[in-house]
Amino acid sequence: MELYKIEKLIVKYFEATTTVAEEETLREYFSKESIAPHLEQHAPLFNYFTKAKEERFTKQVPLKPRINYLKWVSVAAIAVFMFGLYFYQPTPAPVTLADEYTQEEIESAQEAFALLAMNFNKGTEQLYHLEKFEKTTNKFLTKK
């Protein structure tokens, strides 16, 4: 490559109007041993770029498939729930009177209740008089 072309390219390079291919030409030129003395000052620049591109990322990256724990926890929760639902035994149905007591006991209890009811009714009948009393007192009150 002729020297004047390189010189031209360098000027273009600093104006940022060179293409990638032209910049490649410059890098190539400066990577050689025979550089024109007046251009030597630019050599470190281009050689640095070439060197910088050789740097490698060597660290190992741990790429473990991340298990979606949340998903499996919900699956487990549903399983436990279904299991519980399946084996869930409702509290035994309320037993009837006939199961817990003998016929005699029931009858005597009914008799007792009947007696109680009878007496209770007697009591309520007496309340009728109370009603009368109220009527008369009302009369007094209205008269006044």
């Binding site: 600093f14 940022a16 910049e23 470190p44 620049l45 050689n47 910088a52 990322f57 990256v61």
Partner: protein, 169 residues
């Protein structure tokens, strides 16, 4: 998606991500951590990966944003104190040492550039991206890219000359 499949997609550009991260974060360890973080994020999104039309550009943008966030965060304060990897293994040949020295100067000069210029220079001159790609990656207008790039290149040249002259005197 299997791990091997994923690695086949990621392998061609993982070094680019690392170099971009290192350009921004300076420290190698930080850049390694950042790259790892990005790759793990990509791995988590592997099922969506088919829908991206350009995985490399996507990953590159992720790296850029991640690193810029890192720099903004409080950790950045500590970051600046981290030893940056300037030291080169010593070589016996004087000339080789000098050459290497001036090359590492470029690195140091680039570290001093504003972040945007750093990124443009990294993407263009190191990774040789086309302008259209840089536009998308950095979300910048074409003219802004050219201005930033030209400025970055000129700054590096000037600083390099300064150091050269200083070395001679």
């Amino acid at each position: 998606m299997k791990q091997t499949e994923f690695l086949n997609i990621v392998l061609p550009f993982k070094d680019k991500l690392f170099r971009m991260a290192k350009r921004l974060l300076v420290s190698t360890e930080e850049a390694e951590d950042a790259t790892q973080e990005i790759l793990i994020k990509l791995w988590d999104k592997k099922n969506k990966m088919e829908t991206y039309n350009n995985v490399e550009a996507f990953a590159m943008t992720m790296t850029k944003n991640f690193c810029l966030d890192r720099l903004k965060s409080k950790q950045a304060g500590n970051l600046k104190l981290v030893h940056s990897n300037y030291t080169d293994s010593s070589t016996s040949l004087q000339s080789e040492l000098e050459a290497k020295d001036s090359i590492s100067w470029v690195e140091r000069i680039m570290d001093e550039l504003p972040e945007q210029q750093k990124m443009v220079l990294q993407l263009r001159d190191v990774e040789q991206y086309e302008y259209e790609e840089i536009e998308k990656l950095l979300d910048m207008k074409p003219t802004a890219i050219r201005v930033a790039l030209s400025r970055a290149r000129k700054t590096v040249r000037e600083k390099l000359m300064e150091k050269h002259n200083y070395g001679i005197v």
